[in-house]
Each structure stands twice: as structure tokens, then as C-alpha cells.
């Protein structure tokens, strides 16, 4: 058995992921295996239920990508039953979607990804005056004085002195692959802390339109929030004003903190413009629809398939295509009635657990057999990457002007050619670029909403097909959503008013999938090949690429291991929270 580096659990992601990597003689990754280590069965739970409430169950796949499964779910039902939502409802949904992107991506950059590039402890060597000079040179953000950065530095110092590194514990501080000057480390740490505060405001669109965050409420046929300027319990003038202020705070932070920070950090890591993209194939279902959700030509993010990095020959994938849209389980812990090498379109999908892996504790997975709770979705038997890079490429190729301008600006600033986008750095920059694109739609969408309200078009719910008696005996639907992590699809089959089958093919399922029936690696597995490790016992470089995908494993495999891994002694526990 080959010697493999095992990282389990991967931290600073959502969910439970294990990566095994074989290294060559030069400490570069030769082969990599991605395993989802938990499963829940939400698809099974949904069988037999009322389609109108499926969104509430599906949403519980994950609270980080909160809303995404609800959108895919309600859209799948609306697609199956031919329900059109009112224009104001579409605008409200688009506000929620754009806010999701801004909140999620900013949080990801600072709280999940940044510490791969930023050495917190090294910020203690920074000169606050120089940090201030750098801050003022990259942005007009208000928190920029030397005293401010000196304060942040003092805070970090007291955390280090206390011996309790808290959220900065268990890390690779001092790793030789950290390249930032102390001042940029300090600047990034300051923004890490600021983003924690900012994000409280950044969820207000959800809390107003959906009642809470995470997990706002939804309804098939529209949005559950009525519009009535004179009512205390509807979207009224006061709440519109709160939304407007929130939009300003969101766009300000994206423009003055997130994007400038990315551009300040990237030049020190240009080697990552040649690391971390393996497949060269990308897929999107598209997002930000017009009033007719089924008209893909009006989506801001196009529905697109890109093969072999060819931006000149982009096609439109059809999620209803039985021959091309398939999930395989040859290396996944499931069984299919049709056998091990069968590929199933989600409308015929099956979720039957079949754990054949080693009994824990074990050293390595049996990668020649089944080794993950993720299925292997493939488009026309080809593995694809989904997510920010896929979307930015789709928009770039589709002629979206703002995307094109932003991509060209970033490449110019970094002195990099277009091929640099096919990389960990490219994916990370794409995330920031699309955050700006989505955030900028907020104000325009808000203005459109005001226009509709002034014209008296305040209906937010279409009740025409609410009653099951109005439904056909059998219906199939596809619900899409470009979740922050990538293309999300829910395929529903409704029979006599109840869910007969429900399959979720989730961004991280595509990206984190194991090998398929032909032995083709999934996106993570392919992306890691060639990654150099300066210090293999501290595999920071692997984390950089994995985190660039922003894994959400809870979504990808829908189980909780009720055995609750025997955690043994978890230090000096206070509040040993057994729930």
C-alpha cells in the first residue's frame, strides 16, 4: 500500500472531509483522494412528503449555504407544476440571493480561507505606521490610522501572551510557505475581526424577508413576505430603509475591504496562478433569473458548459438530459439496483447506503474500492468543476461587461495572462470578482423593486396552483440555484400530490466527488496533483487549494453519524455539549 499523507478532518470548511495524498520523491502531490466522511439521508427523508414543505427540510442540509437548498427546492416544485412567480417576488428573491453571496464569500475569505495565506502571529512584528500607509494606499476604508492597527496588534499580542490562541490555535504559524510582510498580515487580521462585526448587518435582507438567518422562510409560488407600506407586519417603508442601509454596508465592505485585500495579498502568492486547477471543465446552471425563471437567456449568470478551458465554444447543458446528467457510485458507499457501474439521472436517482469501508479506526481508505459518501456526478461522463471560477468564466465568455472588466483589471494588476485564472489563485480571485458583481446587483434590484411598488405591483405570492387538486397526477421538476459554492440542482418527482423521488446534486458533490466508474478523479482530486509541499508534515499548500473550493460537505452528502464519533477526552470541557 502506498504511503499517503492523511488530513482528517479538514478544518475551516463546512462539514466532514478527509483528503489522502500520495507524494512523489520531491514532496509534490502525485495522487489525491477526496472522501466525504458523514452522511444523513435528507433525500430519503423527503420521500412521501408534501412538495410545498420540502424546502424546509432540504434547507437543513446546511446553515452556511443557508437559503440555497430552499431556492432549488421551491424552484423544482414551481418547475414541475408550471407555477410562475410575481415580478416583485422574483426581485425579492434576487435580493436574498445577492446578499447570500456577499455574506458567504466575505466570511469565507476572511474566516475560512485567509489563514492559509496570512500568518497571524507574524503580524506581531508589523509596524503600525507602515500598515496604515499600506491601508491608505489600497483603499479609502475608514479604519486606517496607525493607532488603529497598533490596537489590533495589542489585541493579538494579549491573545498570544495568554497562552490561549482561541480561534487562532492549532495552526501552522511560522510555516515557510507564508510569504506576506508583517504589515499585510496585520492588515488582514484587522479585517478578519472587522468582518465578524460586519456580517451581523449583512444578513438583514434575509431576516427581514425571511424572518431569520440562518434558515429564512420560503414559499412555493413567491416569497412569504407581503409588501404593504402601511402595515407593521409586511415589507413596509421602515424595513425597506433597513434593507437599503444594509445594501450600502455590504457594497462598501466588498469594495473597500475585501477586493483591495485580495489584490494586496495576491502578488505575494503568484506561484498559485500555476497550481490548483486540474480538470479544465466547468459547469453552471445559471442564476439571477428574470421574471420568467425558466428563461435561461435572461439569467445574469449564464447556464454554461466549458470543456478543456475552451472559452470560445461554450454550450448550454440541459439538466433534463437523461444521457448526460448522471451520478455514479462505483467508488461511493451506495448501491444501485442496476449495478455498480450504472449512472443514474437524478429523476431516477437512488439513495441506498452501502458502507463497505474499513471499520474505524483505520489508517487509510481503500481507494481502489468505495471510499466516500459523495456520489460522483458527471456530465456526459466527464468530471466538471462548479463554483466561482465556473461562473466567472461563463460570464466572461458570455460577454458580461462588468465581469470582463474586473477579470482584466485583476490580471493586469498581477501581471498575469488569462491562463492564470485556471488555478487556486484564479478561483480565489473569481470568488471576490463575483462577490462584487452580485453585490452591485443589490442596488439595481432594490431600485427595480421600488419602481414596482410605486406602480402598485405588490403581489408577492401566486396562489393559483397552491392546492394539490390543481396538480397533475405525476410531474417532474428541476430546481436550480447557483449556490456560492457552485451549481446546485434538485430533481423532484411528484406523484399524487406527494414526493415520490427527490435527488440533490450539490456543488460539493461535483467538486469533492471520488473517482467514477471510469476511474476519473473529481475536481479536488485533480486539482491537488502537482501541489508542492515545503513541509509535508504541515500540508498547508493542500489546504490552500481545498479551501479555494470552499467545501460544504453537509450539502454534498445528506448524513449525521448518530454514533457520534467517540471524541474521547476533549480537553477541560466546560459545557460538554452532547447535542
Amino acid at each position: 500500500m502506498a504511503q499517503r499523507l492523511v488530513i482528517d478532518p479538514i478544518t475551516r470548511i463546512e462539514g466532514h472531509l478527509r483528503i489522502e495524498a500520495e507524494l512523489d520523491g520531491n514532496s509534490k502531490v502525485a495522487k489525491a483522494y477526496s472522501s466525504g466522511t458523514m452522511v444523513r439521508g435528507i433525500e430519503i427523508i423527503l420521500k412521501g412528503r408534501d412538495p410545498r414543505e420540502a424546502w424546509a427540510f432540504a434547507q437543513r442540509a446546511c446553515g452556511v449555504c443557508t437559503t440555497v437548498h430552499s431556492f432549488a427546492s421551491i424552484r423544482s416544485v414551481e418547475d414541475a407544476l408550471g407555477i410562475k412567480i410575481p415580478k416583485a417576488a422574483n426581485l425579492l428573491r434576487n435580493l436574498m440571493i445577492a446578499q447570500q453571496y456577499a455574506h458567504d464569500h466575505v466570511m469565507h475569505f476572511y474566516h475560512l480561507h485567509a489563514l492559509d495565506w496570512v500568518d497571524v502571529v507574524a503580524s506581531l512584528k508589523a509596524n503600525p505606521a507602515e500598515t496604515s500607509r499600506i491601508q491608505q494606499s489600497i483603499s479609502s476604508w475608514r479604519n486606517s490610522s496607525p493607532a488603529y492597527f497598533a490596537d489590533v496588534q495589542k489585541k493579538v499580542q494579549s491573545i498570544v501572551d495568554s497562552g490561549q490562541l482561541s480561534v487562532f490555535a492549532n495552526a501552522y504559524w511560522g510555516h515557510p510557505a507564508y510569504k506576506l510582510p508583517p504589515e499585510i498580515n496585520l492588515l488582514a487580521v484587522a479585517h478578519y475581526l472587522e468582518a465578524l462585526d460586519w456580517q451581523k448587518d449583512a444578513v438583514k435582507i434575509h431576516t427581514i424577508l425571511g424572518g431569520k438567518n440562518p434558515h429564512p422562510n420560503f414559499v412555493v409560488g413567491g416569497v412569504p413576505m407581503p409588501i404593504d407600506l402601511n402595515s407593521d407586519t409586511a415589507l413596509n417603508a421602515e424595513r425597506l430603509s433597513i434593507i437599503s442601509d444594509s445594501i450600502d454596508r455590504i457594497t462598501e465592505f466588498v469594495d473597500q475591504v475585501y477586493l483591495p485585500d485580495l489584490l494586496a495579498i495576491a502578488p505575494y502568492y503568484l506561484d498559485y496562478a500555476a497550481i490548483g486547477e486540474g480538470l479544465g471543465n466547468f459547469l453552471t446552471w445559471g442564476e439571477l433569473p428574470g421574471e420568467d425563471n425558466s428563461d435561461t437567456s435572461k439569467y445574469v449568470v449564464p447556464r454554461a458548459l466549458i470543456l478543456n478551458r475552451d472559452l470560445a465554444n461554450v454550450t448550454v447543458p440541459d439538466p433534463r438530459d437523461f444521457d448526460r446528467m448522471k451520478e455514479y457510485i462505483s467508488h461511493s458507499w451506495y448501491k444501485y439496483g442496476a449495478g455498480e457501474t450504472a449512472g443514474l439521472h437524478p429523476w431516477q436517482g437512488e439513495t441506498t447506503f452501502n458502507y463497505t469501508g474499513p471499520k474505524p479506526p483505520f489508517q487509510q481508505l481503500e481507494v481502489e474500492q468505495k471510499y466516500s459518501w459523495l456520489k460522483a456526478p458527471r456530465w456526459n461522463d466527464v468530471p466538471v468543476e462548479v463554483g466561482p471560477l465556473a461562473r466567472v468564466l461563463a460570464m466572461y465568455a458570455g460577454g458580461h461587461q462588468q465581469t470582463k472588466d474586473l477579470v482584466d483589471m485583476v490580471l493586469k494588476k498581477l501581471g498575469a495572462p488569462i491562463t492564470a485564472v485556471f488555478s487556486t489563485l484564479g478561483r480565489t480571485a473569481a470568488r471576490a470578482i463575483e462577490t462584487k458583481v452580485f453585490a452591485d446587483t443589490l442596488r439595481a434590484t432594490y431600485n427595480d423593486l421600488i419602481t414596482e411598488i410605486k406602480a402598485g405591483n405588490t403581489r408577492t405570492f401566486n396562489s393559483d396552483k397552491w392546492e394539490p387538486l390543481t396538480w397533475p397526477a405525476r410531474a417532474q421538476g428541476f430546481g436550480f440555484m447557483e449556490a456560492p459554492r457552485g451549481a446546485l440542482g434538485h430533481w423532484i418527482v411528484i406523484q399524487n400530490g406527494k414526493i415520490e423521488n427527490y435527488q440533490m446534486v450539490v456543488p460539493t458533490t461535483w467538486n469533492g466527488s471520488p473517482r467514477d466508474h471510469k476511474g476519473q478523479a473529481g475536481a479536488y482530486e485533480a486539482a491537488l496533483v502537482g501541489t508542492p509541499l515545503a513541509k509535508p508534515e504541515w500540508p498547508l499548500e493542500i489546504l490552500r487549494t481545498i479551501h479555494s473550493f470552499d467545501p460544504c460537505m453537509a450539502c454534498a452528502i445528506h448524513m449525521v453519524d448518530a454514533q457520534g464519533q467517540d471524541l474521547g477526552e476533549v480537553g477541560i470541557g466546560l459545557n460538554v455539549c452532547v447535542s
Binding site: S166, N170, L567, V570, I572, N575, V576, C577
Partner: protein, 161 residues
């Protein structure tokens, strides 16, 4: 910026796991016993975890009642002063493994750990699924509450409305 002025007695725990919920039982018993105290809030924090961060950051005085594991015999009363409370649990198996320690640690990083902070706990005997407290813990609960009142008294908060 919100002021830090709230005075809170916070009972934590999961009442579905017997002794794990003792903090909740304790704070409810205290409220029943004492009634209204001027300016003091009796809060059932349940398993809210990170959702308690905002509340904590608004406190000038925070008394936490909770199950505590100090490797002592079941039923042992445990008290930790502010500077003794560990602000982070070392090994994490998943993002979902957030304990109250992380919440305090985060408040601390943000410079908003309550200036007056104290924890009273009891070593649990029984963490299995069920609703009632174990006999060992039930027997000590009144003493936990006596200690709680002593702390409130030291803080000058034992004044009735």
C-alpha cells in the same frame, strides 16, 4: 456601539441529556426562588451556543451556571473565576463542535468579555438521554444556587425591585 451594562444569570445546557441541562434547571429554580431582582436578567441559554455572543458582549456582569467537567467525582461543585475560565477547547473534530468556551473566547478577542464573569458548575453524573437530573446533581443544585446568590451579593446585585 452597544454599552456593556446588562447583568445576566445565564443557565446553559441541554435538558434532554439529564445532568447536561443542570444550568437551565438552576436558573429557573433561582428565578422561582428569588423573583425579580432590580436590573438582573434570568436567562435560559439552552444550547444556543454562538447565538449567545451578542448577549454576552452586552454584559457588565455575567454569572454562568453550567455542567462542568473538571475530572472530579460526580456531584462536585466547581467554581471558576474570570481568569480561570478556559476560553477555548483544544481539539476540534468538526466545525459543529462549538462549545460555550469558544463563545467566550470570541468575545474576548473582540474585547468584550464581561468585566465581571464567574462560572459555577457541577460535575455531571449522568449525561444519558432523559429529562430529570441525577440524584447526585439534584442534591447539590441548591448549593449551586446558594453560591450563585453569594456571587450576586458580592456584585451588589441582590436588591429587589
Amino acid at each position: 456601539m452597544e454599552q456593556q451594562e446588562r447583568k445576566v444569570v445565564l443557565g446553559l445546557g441541554n435538558i434532554l441529556n439529564r445532568d447536561e441541562g443542570m444550568g437551565v434547571h438552576a436558573v429557573k429554580a433561582l428565578e422561582a426562588q428569588i423573583g425579580d431582582l432590580a436590573g438582573v436578567e434570568w436567562v435560559d441559554g439552552g444550547v444556543l451556543g454562538m447565538n449567545l455572543l451578542m448577549l454576552i458582549e452586552e454584559c457588565s456582569h455575567l454569572l454562568v451556571l453550567d455542567a462542568a467537567d473538571a475530572r472530579q467525582p460526580p456531584g462536585t461543585l466547581i467554581q471558576l473565576r474570570r481568569e480561570q475560565i478556559p476560553l477555548y477547547a483544544g481539539i476540534k473534530m468538526s466545525q459543529h463542535q462549538v462549545t460555550f468556551q469558544e463563545v467566550l473566547g470570541l468575545a474576548n478577542i473582540r474585547g468584550k468579555l464581561p468585566p465581571h464573569l464567574h462560572l459555577i458548575g457541577i460535575q455531571p453524573a449522568d449525561l444519558s438521554i432523559g429529562l430529570g437530573l441525577s440524584p447526585e446533581v439534584a442534591a447539590i443544585l441548591p448549593e449551586m444556587n446558594e453560591q450563585a446568590l453569594m456571587i450576586l451579593n458580592q456584585w451588589g446585585l441582590l436588591t429587589h425591585k
